[in-house]
């Protein structure tokens, strides 16, 4: 047993609060850094475990996972990441955005880190290059951030007569400025006025909808942001409450009663994260694993919500939709 295993054993014992059984001593430990709560991550965790299982690791049987949850308080991420680094886990999985990846990156230069995020990992300074991430980081990038202006296009398609649309931005997100600029450019080319509303915590969500209603915006386009994505249910409730057409990045939003969503398939991205974590457990170097970009961008629409809002989907949206919720 190497020194690393001993520490992993100690870590596993600490996590489970149970005596270190001989069986556990052989089990590698994954440190999982989540920005929210286990509930918010539930579907993503399933996808992650699927990916892990593809490489032959069943959580609890071949590998144990030490979880650290920031519960929406992103400033806690570095401290939680440091805790995982202190456990000397075999690999840190940091899904849910650039903040999580950067928090993990800040605490260790040796423990492999697998991230999952929506933006461009090179532009956000997480890795030096996609093909050759270098160092101890690699991961998966979805196309959600790039697709945010597409969301404006779909909203415009739905509401061709609207003169004003609102865009919701989380100013604390590292990609907010880029997305805002892209949205503005898209609005210009689409010939629609755009007003930005900000929300960086849950309490400000209500204000976004109220603000949009107040300015008589036709609808709200949410920028890609994990904070928003993990609170799709709340956003859907507010959209219904305010009778406001809205589009976000996450499929959870139309599923919870929202109008539509367009963004990268997070199931795919989290599954890939699981695959990479498994491959690293098998001994591959993160530096040899290129950053994977999710290929799938999906449009979800909710017909019921559209009916209630009195905004029937045009044929172009119907034919583009990957999933139509009746």
């Amino acid at each position: 047993m190497s020194r690393r295993d001993v520490i992993a054993l100690a870590g596993a014992a600490a996590v489970h609060g149970a005596p270190a059984f001989a069986q556990r001593s052989a089990m590698p430990v994954i440190g999982y850094l989540g920005s929210e709560t286990p509930e918010a991550y539930a579907s993503r965790l399933d996808a992650f475990r699927e990916g892990l299982a593809e490489t032959g690791y069943i959580a609890g049987r071949d590998v144990s996972i030490a979880f650290r949850w920031a519960e929406g308080q992103y400033q806690r991420l570095p401290a939680l990441a440091a805790e995982l680094a202190g456990l000397q886990v075999s690999v840190i999985v940091a899904p849910g955005g650039a903040e999580v990846a950067l928090a993990a990156k800040s605490v260790t230069a040796t423990i492999p880190i697998v991230f999952e995020m929506g933006g461009d990992p090179v532009a956000l300074g997480v890795v030096a290059s996609l093909s050759r991430p270098g160092g101890n980081l690699t991961g998966v990038s979805s196309l959600s951030v790039e697709a945010s202006s597409k969301r404006l296009e779909f909203m415009r398609e739905l509401l061709p007569t609207a003169r004003l649309l609102a865009a919701a931005v989380n100013p604390s997100s590292p990609t907010s400025k880029l997305q805002a600029a892209n949205l503005q450019a898209a609005a210009d080319s689409l010939g629609v006025r755009l007003r930005f509303l900000t929300a960086s915590n849950e309490q400000e969500f209500d204000g976004v909808f109220a603000g949009a209603q107040q300015m008589q915006a036709g609808g709200i386009v949410f920028t890609s942001d994990p904070y928003f994505a993990y609170r799709s249910k709340r956003l859907a409730e507010l959209a219904v409450q305010y009778g406001m057409p809205a589009i976000t990045q996450a499929r959870d939003f139309p599923a919870a009663g929202g109008l539509m969503s367009y963004g990268g398939d997070f199931r795919q991205s989290h599954r890939h994260t699981g695959v990479y974590a498994g491959r690293i457990l098998k001994g591959e170097k993160p530096a040899d694993l290129p950053v994977q970009r999710v290929t799938k961008v999906e449009l979800f629409i909710n017909l019921k919500a559209a009916r209630e809002l009195g905004t029937p989907f045009p044929p172009s949206l119907l034919s583009s939709a990957d999933m139509v919720i009746e």
């Binding site: 090179v122 290059s129 996609l130 093909s131 050759r132 196309l143 790039e146 697709a147 202006s149 597409k150 296009e153 898209a186 080319s189 689409l190 040899d288 694993l289 290129p290 950053v291 994977q292 970009r293 290929t295 799938k296 961008v297 044929p315 172009s316 034919s319 583009s320 939709a321 990957d322």
Partner: protein
């Protein structure tokens, strides 16, 4: 016993053991055919398997190539639908919906650009970028449009977005220039689903290289995304190897350094090489398995040969040791030793023969010992006789009808007194030599001699037919022989003469004497009578008693002489003589 020492005598150890011989024989019988069969099986199997593998891999390569081609052609077919109708002056909503539907149906298409007959962009739809209608950008000079117009289909070079993700543009022109051209940007990562589904054998896989040798598709997508020329060099080397052998399957190394067999199929138009590879260990698995089988059989065969050789040798060596030991003991004179073998085979027979031999040897030795013992104390003549007949029982005392012959020299006492002893000895020596040879020639037994006299028995201890006639004939021979010698002796002393007397009658014959010296002799009246007749005989004369004469009958001309008064006999005894003329004859 001296026999025990003889057994322990060092017999030189054999140069090779029976075990080694059996082992060599069995090894040759078992392992050599196996080796030959296994070796030839492996060699021909290898050649066949290699040829079959080549065919198999080439078929797999063609099949893999067809699947990649099908995939690309599937995209082409979908794109074909967008270039069916000629462009009208205004934007075409239906066409936009078709394009959007195509994006949904073909995930690999990232964006679509539709240009009209003059090369102007009329519609652009994308998954990420904003859609454009009537963008108006001029594509007439782009190689894609020119290429598609010239050949119907144009495939762009593979480009790696962000230095990582492989993309390619496909342009398709309608069958009329009025319908324009469609340009589709394809994310080649989607080929992964096709390529990773291809399995060659159990662990073999396929990959795709584009014309410059960049990896376009591989079951390990991270190899593709690395877009690392150095890492893909082994794969390029594989392709070069296949090309060098004009498309035949070759052995080489893959990125993991494993030795693989690879075959290739080219996709026309795209100039891509679809290469399938299978680890040599798997591909030649059946051969290795056959070799293992042969090896195992060889080991088992050798072990069996060893075992059987050992068992056989043990089986043989036991009886052989027993025989060897037994023969050594018997050879050392331990004739009562018996070789106890019940193997039921030839060994037992040999042992039985040895045992028989031993018992016969014992009998013969016992006899020769007895004779040897007898010879110590018997007169040599009698001993000789016993030796000849092989039975000492002939010497046992019994009463038989015998003919007793006595003879002696006349005037010998005076002769020996006045003659040199050496001369006397010479005379006696010649005399006895002559008589002894006659006695033995007639099968008679010289029982006693003293000085010049001699007693001879006929019909004892060895019985013979017609003893009287035999005795008389012998007496005649003796007379003749001695008389010839007499011719020389008379010069020394003219008083020398030779007389014989014989009588027939019952007598007790047998061994007589002390422990140190035994004689065979006859006791009875007949002996006295013969002795008296001899004393009474003159030179040249053979005197015969009535019994013998009657027994001879008319076989020889006998002359009855005047009855003589003999010492020890109250009545005159009738005496017969054989005519002198007979003797001379």
């Amino acid at each position: 016993m001296p026999g025990l020492n003889a057994v322990a005598d060092p017999v030189p150890a054999p140069r090779t053991s029976l075990f080694a011989k059996y082992f060599i024989a069995l090894f040759a019988a078992v392992v050599v055919p196996l080796l030959v069969a296994g070796g030839s099986e492996a060699w021909f199997g290898y050649r066949d398997q290699r040829a079959r593998l080549n065919d198999l891999l080439e078929a797999e390569a063609r099949s893999a190539g067809a699947r990649i081609q099908d995939y690309i052609e599937g995209i082409q077919d979908q794109l074909q639908w967008t270039v069916q109708l000629p462009w009208s002056a205004s934007a075409d909503e239906r066409r936009r919906l078709d394009a959007l539907r195509l994006l949904r149906q073909v995930p690999a298409v990232v964006s679509l650009t539709l240009v009209d007959a003059v090369g102007k962009e009329r519609l652009f739809v994308s998954r990420i970028g904003l859609n454009r209608v009537e963008g108006g950008e001029d594509h007439s000079a782009s190689p894609a449009v020119i290429g598609a117009r010239a050949n119907g289909v144009w495939f762009g070079p593979v480009t790696f977005h962000g230095g990582s993700e492989p993309f390619m543009t496909i342009a398709i022109a309608g069958n009329r220039s009025a319908v324009g051209v469609v340009l589709a940007e394809i994310n080649l990562k989607f080929i992964w689903e096709v390529i990773s589904a291809i399995r060659v054998g159990r662990t073999g896989e396929a990959f795709v290289l584009d014309q410059p040798g960049r990896l376009v598709a591989h079951p390990d997508i991270s190899l593709v995304l690395r877009a690392d020329a150095a890492a893909t060099r082994p794969l390029q080397a594989l392709r070069a190897g296949i090309l060098a052998r004009s498309g035949e399957a070759v052995a080489g190394r893959d990125t993991g350094g494993n030795t693989v067999l690879a075959a290739m199929a080219q996709i026309p138009g795209l100039d891509w090489s679809v290469i399938v590879k299978q680890p040599v260990t798997e591909a030649l698995g059946p051969i290795y398995a056959a070799l293992w089988r042969t090896g195992t059989l060889l080991v088992v065969g050798a072990a069996l040969a060893l075992l059987f050789a050992y068992l056989l040798a043990q089986h043989m060596i036991g009886p052989i040791r027993l025989l060897e030991d037994g023969v050594a003991r018997i050879g050392a004179g331990q004739f009562d030793h018996r070789i106890d073998l019940a193997t039921g085979d030839e060994f037992e027979r040999v042992a039985t023969r040895f045992n028989e031999m031993a018992s016969e040897l014992a009998v013969s030795q016992e006899r020769s010992e007895r004779i040897g013992r007898l010879k110590r104390f018997l007169a040599p003549q009698v001993a000789e006789l016993v030796d000849r007949t092989g039975d000492a029982h002939v010497l046992d005392s019994r009463r038989v009808e015998v003919v007793v012959v006595f003879c002696d020299l006349r005037g010998f006492t005076a002769f020996s007194a006045q003659t040199e002893p050496e001369t006397v000895m010479d005379v006696l020596s010649a005399y006895y030599d002559s008589l002894e040879s006659i006695v033995s020639a007639h099968g008679a037994t010289l029982t006693n001699f003293s000085g010049d006299g001699m007693m001879i028995l006929v019909n004892a201890p060895v019985p013979c037919p017609d003893p009287a006639l035999r005795a008389v004939t012998m007496a005649c021979d003796m007379q003749t022989s001695v008389q010839k010698l007499m011719v020389g002796w008379r010069a020394l002393d003219d008083r020398l003469g030779f007389g014989v007397g014989l009588a027939m009658g019952p007598a007790t014959v047998g061994r007589i004497g002390s422990r140190g010296r035994l004689d065979y002799t006859a006791i009875g009246n007949v002996v006295n009578l013969a002795s008296r007749l001899c004393s009474s005989a003159d030179d040249f004369e053979i005197l015969i008693d009535r019994v013998a004469a009657e027994a001879v009958g008319s076989s020889l001309p006998l002359v009855e002489l005047e009855a003589r008064t003999l010492k020890g006999f109250e009545e005159p005894v009738p005496v017969f003589a054989i005519g002198l003329g007979q003797i001379d004859a």
